[in-house]
């Protein structure tokens, strides 16, 4: 009779041990494997769906032919040609300085000063006179902080919107793309000032406007504008853009656009021309 409880206890331990082993199998092997099987099934289903969609897409997609490929090559060449190539930053800066000086004189700007820093976020140098006198010294002193901030912002890689345009091996091979902001402080009558703003991008260097601030001055309007230009540099430069910098041109073309399904036609691309501003008197709201 004394044997029975002991046998019962042994059987109970047996059942417990078996259950524990069973649970170990379930938790550490079966469950993860079944989970993985589910994931693999979903993955397989997704890829099969992708193949189906891709096949359907490919049947209606117009693939580039030789003619279209030649348009691609030409547009790359146009872009490459537009960018000045130099060993370091100085030639580009000199070129922009002489261009802006010429334009300021041609537009009969009363006073203009070029401001820049030697490295991104660096202190702005005292400035190089472009034309005329610089009587706005007091005003400029008050604006120094904002100009400095704007130059810093303009050299910040996140503000570079042409990541997709310049994403090409030819810009990485021999030269590196550099983007440098410049600031110009101007004093001139409003029509002259606006003409200068309109003309400042007309050089082949294509300076793009990043910010304009205009104030009613003592006798003439005062303004400063921050511009940014790009060039290719062979040597080391603090202004070089890292590969993959910036956004993809603010999603210039929607990746799902039907435009990308057809051959490109350069004839349909709108060409921006150099246009003079109309006379102020005839301008209204509409």
């Amino acid at each position: 009779m004394a044997m029975k409880p002991r046998r019962l206890a042994r059987a109970f331990i047996w059942v417990l041990a078996s259950l524990a082993i069973f649970l170990i199998f379930v938790v550490f092997d079966w469950y993860p494997t079944v989970k993985e099987l589910g994931r693999l099934r979903r993955e397989q289903r997704d890829v099969i769906l992708k193949i189906k969609n891709f096949t359907a897409m490919a049947s209606s997609f117009v693939f580039p032919d030789e003619e279209e490929k030649s348009h691609f090559v030409k547009s790359h060449a146009d872009l490459y040609k537009l960018l000045m190539q130099a060993d370091d930053d100085a030639p580009w800066l000199n070129r922009m300085l002489s261009w802006l000086r010429w334009q300021a004189e041609a537009d009969k700007v009363d006073g203009a000063l070029l401001l820049f820093s030697s490295e991104p976020g660096g202190m702005v140098a005292p400035g190089v006179r472009l034309t005329g006198q610089t009587p706005m010294a007091d005003w400029l002193a008050g604006q120094q902080q904002d100009i400095q901030e704007s130059l810093k912002e303009a050299s910040y890689p996140g503000r570079f919107p042409w990541g997709g345009v310049f994403a090409s091996p030819e810009f990485i091979a021999e030269h590196r793309l550099a983007g440098r902001p410049l600031a110009i402080a101007i004093e001139a009558r409003l029509p002259v000032l606006l003409n200068f703003i309109n003309h400042c991008s007309w050089d082949y260097g294509r300076l793009e406007i990043v910010r304009i601030r205009l104030e009613a001055g003592a006798s003439l309007p005062w303004a400063w504008l921050v511009l940014r230009g790009y060039y290719l540099v062979r040597g080391p430069s603090p202004w070089t853009m890292q590969e993959g910098t910036g956004s993809d041109a603010g999603l210039l073309v929607d990746p799902d656009s039907p435009l990308l399904w057809q051959k490109v036609d350069p004839g349909t691309v709108y060409r921006v021309k150099k246009i003079e501003l109309p006379a102020a008197a005839s301008r209204g709201g509409k």
Binding site: F54, S168, K274
Partner: protein, 183 residues
């Protein structure tokens, strides 16, 4: 009942079968595991095969590559015209703004161009005998600004009471900000 060494026979048989039971138990558990792992390996191979099939398809008909090349083509065309277009759009906007604002009332203006649009912020200062007169004068400018077809967003706020005095009359300042879609 037949007895051996003082123990009943069925008890002896039971004791002999006892080592087999755990073995069977482990065998069943192990078999289930093996089956699951075999199925997993089989499915992994299948997934790999369809992935390879998809990659081969993409390599053979590079749709995304062609789309990226076209997007870049349009991007380059846009970039080539962008500096000229934005310079004109901004200067033209300021010109028209100055045309609807009486001389000396446009105190300051800031324009921040972006790829497709630009933000603007300006202060209009109106010297008037009273707040109501200043508001009326500002309303006329603001209404005309709203007629600019390219302005997509515009709002204004009135600054604190008369900021300065001009010829005995107080100057009331109004800050206008907005966005222009120039492209």
């Amino acid at each position: 009942m037949e007895e051996k060494a003082g123990l009943p026979m069925n008890h002896l048989q039971h004791r002999r079968s006892r080592p087999i039971l755990p073995l069977v138990f482990f065998l069943i558990l192990g078999s289930v595991s093996v089956l699951l792992h075999v199925e997993k390996a089989r499915r992994q191979k299948r997934v790999q095969a369809v992935n390879e099939q998809f990659s081969a398809l993409v390599r053979a008909r590079p749709i995304e590559e062609a789309k990226a090349e076209r997007a870049r083509f349009y991007g380059i065309q846009y970039y080539l015209g962008y500096p000229l277009a934005v310079s004109y759009a901004v200067s033209d906007f300021i010109l028209r703004l100055s045309a609807i604002t009486p001389s000396g009332q446009l105190h300051d203006l800031q324009v921040d161009p972006r790829v497709r649009d630009f933000g603007f912020a300006l202060t209009v200062g109106i010297a008037a005998g009273g707040r109501e007169a200043a508001r009326q004068a500002f309303a006329s400018i603001y209404d005309r600004m709203q007629d600019f077809p390219e302005i997509t967003r515009i709002s204004f706020s009135e600054s604190d009471p008369a900021a300065a005095a001009a010829g005995g009359r107080q100057v009331y300042c109004f800050a206008v900000s907005g966005q222009v879609e120039w492209q």
